[in-house]
């Protein structure tokens, strides 16, 4: 059993930390308040190869595994979740192209993302389709050698800044079984009939772009269908382990950042003639926060390691996602508490961590769905 990071992994973490401290931290409050996408920071991150780090080397990425992606996400999210997500999400949807795309699709779609020239997105949720993914109603119909896409997608990360989206569409409404008859089709945002509407007023991760996508008779060439027609569910399900582990890493990062901020504040802030870190009430909070964070981290690393071994870890990935997101919310909550009144305004980063943490319990499968999955696996009920 090996719990240590390799020299290379340690070096990645350090360089990401350097980048975050210099480029992200000074700007974090501004992008949160203004709710704007941090293009300048994303461009710099792209120069460093932070976007699309898991895209294979032959397509311009760094070819990093799940564990390394977890380390990158943890470090970035520990400095600012909104900007971190903006960076990490630049390659959303590309996993399907990486795994199931043909050579032409990989060259067209993976390379520009790895180079930071294009931003991708994944479009699954709809106004009436959240946790029940099988109710997707966005339709793609074949017309000659083109697909014609109609429908709406909701809560789409990068919706107004993305250059293309991997869209989950119903391609065969007559298919039997609720998980059959869906396909993943790439729709470029400059196609006629495509529009997007930015969603503002989010509780957290406000730097990250979220939008509703509207497809009104959008025509894309048939070459834009990824993998096997009507088999998108089976395709996409293979990534659940990795994507849930990825959100778990976000939670670890948020907890780590909130803990760091609380630890620093507790040692600086003096009351009754001494730093509040001298009080046992505060010490016990810090001890709990650190312990929870470490437990969450170990669960996440174990999940990531297993994904990289090619093991099927449905239960473990859901455990990591559910537990870690809960820890992120709890630890950032306590961090605000330790800051007292100062934690309630945005003079300190903990207010942001607290707001940002909540989304990790919602996206990529809510905590309730994760628990359903865990219980189903425990009871051997299967898919």
């Amino acid at each position: 059993m090996e719990f240590g990071l390799s020299e290379e992994q340690e070096q990645i973490r350090e360089e990401v930390e350097r980048f975050a401290k210099n480029e992200i931290v000074p700007e974090a409050e501004k992008y949160d308040v203004e709710e704007t996408f941090p293009h300048e920071i994303v461009d710099k991150a792209a120069d460093m190869g932070l976007v699309g780090s898991s895209i294979p080397i032959e397509y311009g990425g760094a070819g990093y595994s799940t564990l390394e992606s977890v380390l990158i996400a943890e470090e970035l999210f520990s400095w600012d979740p909104g900007i971190a997500l903006s960076i990490m999400a630049c390659s959303f949807g590309t996993e399907a192209i990486r795994e199931f795309g043909n050579e032409d699709q990989k060259e067209r779609f993976l390379e520009p993302v790895a180079m930071g020239e294009k931003i991708s997105g994944a479009a699954i949720s709809e106004p009436d389709t959240g946790s029940d993914v099988s109710s997707v109603s966005t339709r793609a119909e074949k017309d000659g050698d083109e697909w014609v896409v109609n429908g709406n997608k909701m809560w789409i990360t990068n919706g107004t800044v993305g250059d293309f989206f991997v869209v989950l569409c119903k391609t065969n409404p007559d298919a039997e079984g609720r998980y059959n008859g869906f396909s993943q089709i790439v729709v470029e945002s400059d196609r006629d009939g495509f529009s997007s509407d930015k969603i503002t007023g989010k509780l957290g991760i406000r730097a990250s772009d979220t939008a509703e996508l509207i497809f009104d008779d959008v025509r894309v060439p048939e070459e834009n269908l990824i993998g096997t027609q009507d088999a998108a569910f089976m395709q996409q399900m293979q990534f659940f382990d990795a994507t849930r582990t990825g959100v778990a890493a976000q939670g670890v990062g948020i907890a780590k950042g909130a803990l760091r901020a609380a630890l620093e504040y507790a040692q600086d802030r003096e009351q009754f003639g001494q730093p509040i870190s001298e009080f046992q009430a505060i010490q016990h909070k810090l001890a709990d926060m650190a312990t929870q964070t470490e437990a969450a981290r170990n669960l996440t690393y174990k999940a990531a390691w297993n994904v990289d071994q090619g093991n099927d870890i449905t239960k473990l990935a859901s455990m990591a996602k559910e537990y870690t997101s809960r820890v992120a919310v709890d630890v950032s909550n306590e961090a605000v508490q330790i800051h007292g009144g100062s934690g309630y305004v945005n003079d300190f980063p903990v207010e942001r961590f607290y707001r940002d943490s909540k989304i990790t319990q919602i996206y990529e499968g809510t905590s309730e769905i994760q628990k359903n999955v865990i219980a189903r696996e425990l009871l051997g009920k299967g898919f």
Binding site: E7, E8, E10, Q11, I12, E15, R18, F19, D47, M48, G49, L50, S53, I57, G61, A62, G63, Y64, I72
Partner: protein
């Protein structure tokens, strides 16, 4: 053209620290690539990207622990690295300029570069002498505190801009082979890319001992003794203005002018 860049892992100190004897206590120390060396590496890598340099080699004196730091240079684009270490160095308390000069000059002799880039100084011990001293030892010309380097080397001449005190700068032509000590601000050092970090793991990092370089152990014994280390008493002299931003900014501006900081 071949460029040799000397790099050093320096000790970094936390804001709050304690001194034990003549050293800062271990728990307050971190390690990082020397800031000036980061600029020297960037300059060399830019010369390589511009097609001026064919090979960029880094050299460091340090134990195995420092390899992770040294690989930063490889991740940023240097082709290979040489690390010099020896049991004899383990026992030396203070590696002085002469010792570093002997070791680095031996590496220069072996590598035979056209250009040697060093940082102006190391952020921890601040001798600020190694680059110039190596130049003297190998009989090369040098330029100290270089803050601009022309990337055309016409007729084997490096045209550099050097930073003098009092806001004065001078341009100097220096014949190669030469040693340039690089000042911060000469360029904007890049972050190591993730691809670079990955590739750096496979780049050559050669370890050499004193005997490999033909350096006699006697030559690294220093004549310097560190006698004390302390924090100077600082005089508190803070001025706090109250009022609107316009008023306080005006008062600050006035003070900076009076003190000769601003024109």
């Amino acid at each position: 053209m071949k460029i040799l860049v000397t790099v050093k892992e320096v000790a970094t100190v936390e804001d709050e620290f304690e001194i034990e004897g003549t050293e800062i206590a271990d728990q307050y120390l971190g390690a990082d690539l020397n800031e000036w060396d980061d600029y020297a590496i960037e300059e060399a890598v830019q010369l390589q990207e511009a097609g001026v340099a064919d090979e960029v080699v880094t050299v460091t004196i340090g134990p195995e622990d420092c390899e992770q730091t040294i690989r930063q240079a490889l991740a940023k684009g240097a082709d290979r690295a040489v690390r010099v270490w020896d049991d004899a160095l383990e026992g030396v308390d203070l590696l002085d300029v002469n010792a570093k000069t002997q070791i680095l000059s031996a590496v220069v002799e072996e590598e035979d570069p056209d250009l040697v880039l060093t940082g102006v100084q190391a952020g921890d011990d601040s001798f600020a002498a190694t680059g110039v001293s190596v130049a003297e030892e190998i009989g090369a010309q040098w330029g100290a505190v270089v803050n601009h380097l022309e990337h055309e080397f016409d007729d084997g001449v490096a045209s550099v801009r050097r930073e003098l005190e009092g806001g004065v700068e001078e341009l100097t032509d220096i014949e190669l082979p030469a040693v340039l000590t690089i000042q911060t601000g000469i360029n904007e050092p890049r972050y190591a890319s993730l691809r670079g970090i990955r590739q750096a793991q496979r780049k050559e990092l050669d370890v050499q001992g004193l005997a490999d370089l033909g350096v006699d152990e006697g030559e690294i014994e220093g004549d310097l003794t560190l006698t004390d280390m302390y924090e100077p008493e600082s005089e508190s002299d803070a001025t706090i203005w109250e009022g609107s931003p316009e008023e306080t900014a005006a008062e600050l501006g006035e003070m900076l002018r009076n003190k000769g900081v601003a024109p």
